[in-house]
């Protein structure tokens, strides 16, 4: 894997960290992030992945240098970005966006496909695409589900930046923390052991819940529950419960 020019990737115990080392996303970064996803899917032993920026910027969005006004629209390029977002959304790890500074446009789109979003108090979240005359990717599909249609419209159509505190209020951010790195480390530590199969199943059922009938949903749930209960994590839970029959656990 690598060498990378748009990001750095490191693994430390249970946690993998992806640092976006340029402030704007370009096609090269999409390719490199896709390669990182391959690694996380296929070989990485980590149970959590942290996506973060560099030099006080999470990501300021798409790099317009790759587009020219006199060239045809590269709609396939946009599709590659969306495929990457789906890959991140389905990674077999708990995914965390650690936001320091600006998370704008594509940067916020990337954060939205992570499981959890933590940010420093000075961070700013913004979808400025509509104001610039284009669309914020499949945030058009995802955002309303997490914050409601009205708020999603306000955010997307006005392009108004949100402070970290406002973002926590409306549920885009999970936490504001002054010492971001420390807090992320502690959080991942607290969550150990992360049962990645159960995480994937629960996340998938939640993501599907808005577009599935209850009848189909319960069928999906039972299938997923059967799978979860045959995994070693749940079997260990049962073994522990039987070792200590009186403590109620």
């Amino acid at each position: 894997m690598g060498p990378f020019t748009t990001l750095t990737f490191r693994e430390d115990g249970d946690v993998a960290t992806v640092v976006l080392s340029r402030p704007r996303t370009n096609m090269r970064m999409v390719r490199e992030l896709t390669a990182v996803c391959d690694n996380l899917d296929d070989v990485s032993p980590c149970s959590a992945v942290v996506f973060r920026g560099d030099n006080g910027v999470f990501s300021e969005g798409m790099d317009f240098q790759e587009f020219r006004p006199d060239q045809p629209v590269d709609i396939h390029g946009f599709n590659k970005w969306e495929k990457l977002c789906v890959r991140i959304e389905r990674l077999p790890k708990l995914t965390i966006a650690a936001i320091e500074g600006a998370a704008i446009g594509a940067g916020l789109q990337l954060a939205l496909v992570c499981d959890l979003r933590l940010a420093t108090p000075e961070s700013v979240l913004q979808l400025d695409e509509v104001r610039k005359g284009f669309l914020p990717g499949m945030a058009t599909f995802r955002l309303a589900k997490s914050i409601g249609l009205g708020r999603a419209k306000r955010m997307m159509l006005t392009g108004a930046p949100l402070s970290a505190a406002e973002a926590v209020d409306i549920g885009i951010l999970d936490e504001v923390c002054p010492s971001l790195d420390e807090r992320v480390r502690a959080l991942v530590q607290d969550l150990q052991p992360i049962n990645t199969v159960a995480v994937q199943l629960a996340r998938r059922l939640l993501n599907e819940s808005y577009s599935t009938s209850f009848e189909d949903g319960i069928g999906n749930f039972l299938a997923a529950q059967h799978r979860a209960c045959t995994q070693s994590a749940f079997i260990r839970t049962l073994e522990k419960a039987h070792d200590k029959p009186n403590d109620g656990n």
Binding site: D41, R87, G219, L222, A223
Partner: protein, 351 residues
């Protein structure tokens, strides 16, 4: 040049009569609310069936002899149409077929279906043959494996595989949940595919069969089985309640082995052709193999429109995939069938 066998065409056929679930209930005046509830589950809308007339009290009474006769008559009717539909697009007739593999688990015959098809449909008398009987819903891939091996060993020769199930010849009519589950699920259908290993097919848009991977779960040997019913004088198909989830749990194993053998990852598989076994088993496979609702759209669609067609179901999905026109050259696909044993069979394709 020795090339891998390809699936050059597919043809399907069903009984002309189509019924909604409600029409079947009404026809036989089923009153048990539990049975009515099973029929009204939304994942099957219609099925094509050879249904016997209702008796005086609504319940049809058929002897095993009559059931076997219905299997044979239905197999002849659907078989002739499915075979013609598979051969015609290639400009072939039954006289051009060098190897005939017939698969059926819904009516025991000796001699087998292949002998009857040769007698009636104009196949040559020196056509090589194989009949696979009693392997159930997974049998289509148990047949495709040796049929494609034959095609590979006999370059340029034409092999035809016919999966023919008259599941209504396995129905027992009584107002119970056990028979209601079976009678609400299975439909009648036949699918035929033409296989050939020939460099002259290189430019045909048809998938190459790369390999197979089998898996059996001996602990659940009896989870799906035929049982002789003394009181009815006929066979009854028994389907245990939890078997869909057990099949789901094990489905990962052969898929992982097949992918590993060809150095592929799950994300490299663009098309999944999973047997339309029933809603629960499709759900279980989605969440264990990690494939999406979109991946099983044809599996779900065939279940909705035809019910579980037994051994040929996955070929009905294959036909829909090819008609959809989204497959691209170089795409990989996995075929997966599940059935008694308990069995999971898989095959890897590349277009």
């Amino acid at each position: 040049m020795h090339v891998r066998p390809r699936i050059l065409s597919v043809g399907t056929a069903n009984p002309p009569e189509r019924y909604t679930q409600q029409e079947v209930l009404d026809r036989y005046r089923a009153e048990n609310p539990a049975v009515r509830a099973i029929f009204s589950a939304s994942h099957i809308k219609t099925r094509h069936l050879y249904l016997p007339p209702p008796g005086e009290d609504g319940v049809p009474r058929e002897t095993q002899t009559e059931l076997l006769r219905r299997h044979r008559k239905g197999a002849m009717d659907m078989g002739s149409r499915a075979i013609a539909a598979a051969l015609e697009p290639l400009g072939l007739t039954t006289a051009d077929v060098d190897y005939l593999c017939c698969i059926s688990s819904t009516g025991f015959m000796l001699p087998g279906l292949s002998a009857m098809f040769i007698k009636h449909f104009g196949f040559r008398v020196n056509c090589s043959r194989m009949d696979i009987v009693g392997m159930g819903c997974n049998a289509g891939l148990n047949g495709l494996n040796p049929a494609s091996a034959w095609a590979f060993a006999n370059p340029g020769k034409t092999a035809l595989m016919v999966c023919c199930e008259v599941n209504t010849a396995m129905y027992i009519y009584e107002d119970t949940v056990a028979t209601g589950v079976v009678n609400s699920l299975f439909g009648d259908g036949c699918a035929a595919v033409v296989l050939r290993s020939s460099p002259s097919d290189e430019n045909t848009f048809a998938p190459t069969i790369l390999g197979f991977q089998s898996h059996i779960i001996p602990d659940t040997w009896a989870a799906m089985h035929y049982e002789w019913r003394e009181d009815k004088g006929a066979y009854s198909f028994i389907l245990e309640r939890d078997v869909p989830y057990v099949l789901g749990t094990h489905a990962e194993t052969p898929v992982a082995a097949l992918l590993a053998r060809y150095g592929l990852k799950r994300r490299n598989i663009a098309h999944w052709l999973v047997h339309s076994g029933g809603k629960k088993v499709i759900d279980a496979i989605k969440y264990t193999v990690g494939i999406t609702e979109h991946d099983v759209r044809h599996t779900v669609g065939i279940l909705r429109d035809y019910g579980n067609l037994g051994s040929g179901s996955f070929l009905f999905s294959f036909q829909r995939l090819m008609q959809e026109g989204k497959v691209r050259r170089g795409d990989y696909g996995i075929m997966m069938t599940m059935g008694p044993g308990s069995t999971i069979e898989t095959a890897l394709l590349r277009w």
